[in-house]
């Protein structure tokens, strides 16, 4: 139950929020830290306010899919850990985790952010497959943006492991200098609609109060690679248009923080 639902709704109408933020402000601190796990090929921790997620990249050598024999692959998985919220329970992924994973996946996949052809070693036989696992550590709202940011940061920090030339076995304990072939930097931003106002970076209470949301993944050029509408109420085309403008602006803002954090 959301105790402050009424208040949040009324405040939104006058461009205000319960925690005093402006509608288009992210919470602070907004931190991105990479190389947090020595066992992952790439890893990152993202904190937005009290929300914390970790992401880890693992690489493996596998047989390419039959319909794309000259390409590697990518898989994204989200675990909403029971450690991160009293609302999450152990067990198979909930629909929330599945949607989150698929939206982050499409943002990266459809932008062709990773050059999958460059992951191929021997067509039809062997290619690199990239798996990103996103773990919620403290869900205080806006896992969508945090997960997208953590995934991209983990991908950017990843290095290929050493492969034994004779046996073809991967030595995961040794990393090479080579990083992943990234072509673009798509970041998803989710805009929420409460009482006809649009806002970013919701708290859990704001998420539960919102009538609609739209996630827009966009790259540095403003190209959109994935969208996902959620929530119970419809959005007008005019609203979608304003949401896209806002999402692209915030995507650039987050990309700037990411670049700075990786320096």
């Amino acid at each position: 139950m959301i105790i402050n639902k009424e208040t949040i709704t009324q405040l939104a109408a006058v461009q205000k929020r319960l925690d005093g933020r402006k509608l288009h402000d992210y919470r602070q601190p907004l931190l991105i830290e990479t190389d947090i796990s020595w066992t992952a090929e790439g890893s990152a921790r993202v904190q937005i306010g009290e929300t914390v997620v970790m992401a880890g990249v693992k690489l493996s050598l596998e047989k390419p899919y039959n319909d794309t024999p000259d390409e590697g692959g990518i898989m994204i998985n989200v675990e909403l850990l029971p450690l991160s919220s009293p609302d999450y329970e152990p067990g198979p992924p909930s629909i929330k985790a599945v949607e989150l994973a698929r939206v982050v996946d499409r943002g990266i996949r459809e932008a062709q952010a990773i050059d999958l052809k460059k992951l191929c070693i021997t067509p039809g036989e062997k290619a690199w497959f990239v798996t990103i696992d996103i773990m919620s550590i403290n869900d205080a709202g806006n896992l969508f943006d945090a997960a997208g940011l953590a995934s991209l940061a983990a991908l950017k920090s990843a290095h290929f492991p050493v492969v034994d030339e004779k046996t073809g076995a991967i030595d995961y304990k040794q990393k090479t200098e080579k990083s992943l072939p990234l072509r673009k930097e798509p970041l998803p931003v989710t805009i929420y609609k409460i009482n006809n106002s649009l806002l970013v970076d919701p708290t859990r209470e704001e998420e539960e109060t919102a009538q609609a949301r739209l996630t827009v993944a966009s790259d540095a050029k403003g190209s959109i690679s994935a969208m996902q509408k959620g929530g119970e109420e419809p959005l007008s085309i005019e609203e979608v248009s304003s949401i896209i403008d806002l999402a692209i602006e915030k995507s650039a803002f987050l990309r700037q923080i990411l670049t700075k954090s990786l320096q």
């Binding site: 066992t39 493996s60 450690l83 198979p92 403290n138």
Partner: protein
């Protein structure tokens, strides 16, 4: 004896560098982060809260329930499939058994106290790090406890009795070719701090009774170091408030 100097240069009774923090997960009722070398455990406690399904409830006292999970990217080899493996289930069970003796849930009939531990990176000693983290998190949550549980692995590499084995020491044959006929024993233990009684005792490998008793003697000093760190983490939380991971 071929194993004269430990692979990472530590003294026999020396633990890897450690770091502990309490109150790292705002959503949880109690939480902790515990690092020992490159092994990292994060623990969160939720409860006492109502236990469902109801047939699991105990009308006499609350139920302690531990959960253990290595993150998919936390193994030193291939990705680990998420989900409850047989190994994770067993570790969760021994964690619960190792913490139960000091936790008093008699005031919370029909309730459950859930302890979730997840590990972002590992290098041996994960169940011990998980238990040491869980003990801090339970205390942080204000769960009635009569003592702290301090956990660390001890063991034997070749003829040397050592504390806090690394993955390389557990797999010494792979990393030190001269030690092909050396034997290794890995003994994860958890101790009640004041009484030095054991609440976790497992053993993998090859060791004599004398060797085992020597290792358990070494464990007293090793768990004392864990205790001092746990105490420091809790004090810092209550003096300075919540911490970032």
């Amino acid at each position: 004896m071929v194993y004269k100097q430990r692979l990472d240069g530590r003294k026999d009774d020396e633990l890897r560098p450690m770091e502990a923090k309490a109150g790292v997960i705002p959503n949880a009722d109690g939480s902790a982060s515990f690092k020992i070398g490159k092994t990292w455990a994060i623990a969160a406690v939720y409860g006492p809260r109502e236990l469902y399904p109801r047939f699991l409830q105990d009308p006499q006292k609350g139920v302690l329930r531990c959960h253990y999970g290595m993150m998919p990217f936390s193994g030193s080899g291939e990705r680990i499939r998420p989900g409850n493996s047989r190994r994770a289930q067993e570790i969760a069970m021994v964690m619960t058994k190792s913490l139960e003796p000091v936790v008093d849930l008699s005031s919370f009939p029909n309730a459950v106290v859930d302890v979730f531990v997840d590990l972002p990176q590992t290098d041996a000693g994960t169940r011990c790090a998980a238990i040491s983290a869980a003990s801090i998190a339970l205390a942080d949550a204000g769960i009635p406890m009569k003592d702290m549980i301090c956990s660390v692995a001890v063991g034997k590499v070749d003829t040397k009795i050592v504390a806090d084995l690394t993955y390389k020491e557990e797999q010494i044959h792979e990393f030190n070719p001269e030690s092909h006929d050396a034997t290794v024993a890995d003994i994860p233990v958890a101790m009640i701090h004041n009484t030095k009684e054991l609440t976790l005792l497992q053993l993998d490998g090859d060791i004599t009774k004398e060797g085992l008793l020597q290792a358990l003697e070494l464990a007293k000093g090793a768990t004392e170091k864990i205790y001092q760190l746990q105490k420091k983490a809790l004090k810092e939380k209550f003096l300075m408030g919540e911490k970032q991971l």
